[in-house]
Symmetry: C2
Subunit: 290 residues, 2 copies
Amino acid sequence: MSATIIDGKLLAETIRQRVADEAKRLGITPGLTVVIVGEDPASQVYVRNKVKQTEAAGFHGSEHRLPESTSEANLLKLVQTLNNDPSVHGILVQLPLPDHIDPDLVIRTIDPAKDVDGFHPINAGKLAVGQDSLVPCTPQGCILLAKTVHPDLTGLNAVVLGRSNIVGKPVAQLLIQESATVTVAHSKTQDLSDVCARADLLVAAVGRAELVKRHWIKPGATVIDVGINRVADGLGKSRLVGDVAFNEAKEIAGAITPVPGGVGPMTIACLLANTLKAACWAEGKPAPTF
Amino acid sequence: MSATIIDGKLLAETIRQRVADEAKRLGITPGLTVVIVGEDPASQVYVRNKVKQTEAAGFHGSEHRLPESTSEANLLKLVQTLNNDPSVHGILVQLPLPDHIDPDLVIRTIDPAKDVDGFHPINAGKLAVGQDSLVPCTPQGCILLAKTVHPDLTGLNAVVLGRSNIVGKPVAQLLIQESATVTVAHSKTQDLSDVCARADLLVAAVGRAELVKRHWIKPGATVIDVGINRVADGLGKSRLVGDVAFNEAKEIAGAITPVPGGVGPMTIACLLANTLKAACWAEGKPAPTF
């Protein structure tokens, strides 16, 4: 039996379309500003995609490209200017930042109501206690992908592999809110493969290429692979693989996300959904859910 | 074999003594103000104990008793006055509040640096992302009790039974930080007793009298019982029991906290530790850890 391949590209497209339609219906033009400091090539690609898809959704997208040498004080000043600009509903400061800038301080300076990455401690806190907040995009995408297979996650045994602040922990919090039974496993977990093999829903977010093998997966389980790892293909080039050994995993899983084309595209779709939500709040309109 | 009984009363006393000694050593007098609205008899007892133990530790304790009819606006005004009072390092508004007052709004109004209950969303967020914060008292007490048995919690299979914002979720976050493998189980969990029976460390925080039976416990496991439930004793009186059926559990567990005398006394000890921490921050001194 071969697993259903969960098409993240298609779901992301559907959500981006619905976000665009809702914005039009509500008569608002959400504005998203992306700030990038320095020349990290991967970041450049991400930012370009974010701005492109923002504009494709009919939103107002803008970009601030600052040199690597930008001082922390100047970056904070820019963030404050954006906080005070009513045409900017969402502010995203692309990480990583150069070493001389404290990312936590920058994140804390963003107006929590414009923090579309959901990284501000007050948004992390609202998520932790189950209050309405701007939820980090990738974790949100994981839940939406899982729900294509299990519309109701209640009572599912979910295992989250990884405990990062940007993926593992928020995914776990969202799953608890959805009434799943949630285990957070990580590098210090004993019998890691056995713990994973108990999961009806396995979310792999450790950043280790193809760590999760066939025997780590319960037959019929749903597997959401957050990893994006670049590995040599042995022919002098490289390819992207997830945290799950996809080819063997798909023989045992019930459903699985591919890499690329699974979680990846969902991140920007959820970023647009967050920006719409922030814009609705700013305009005093009810925010749609996706 | 009978379990080691973990003496929460003794540990709490030790911590209160160490907190008092540290405050003296640092030459500061931490100030804790407790606000109570209305006449709830249980709350009256809690508040009396808090103030008494605050003063016993050499801290400055004060109390604001407001009538049930106090308006939300007036309560918020009092909180703001306390926020601005440099002699007040910790503010605790006793819950529950009367129905006409929004507890979330009151909690959000407390200066996060004086929020010794650790309930402000920004403190919940800092806890969620592992930043130094004021951590809710009861969860902190659970970890300290568990550490009397396991000084290092790394790799332990921990199950947290219950997912409340004030106990279950923060306990889970603290355990993740301590590198345990953490499962959050709750009323929607399937095969709840089997899930619990996998735990090396079981924290029961559901508020259901003696729910956890002998066969829910792995032989030799450590059991932390957060429940405080009043039940009829069949003789026209009542007695306090935990969420764990203590008499049968102690035959199989390796170590267990009693009710009363386990988690309960730890809460005020940790409240004093938080107040000392807040006072150290206010005075620009390094905060001791316990």
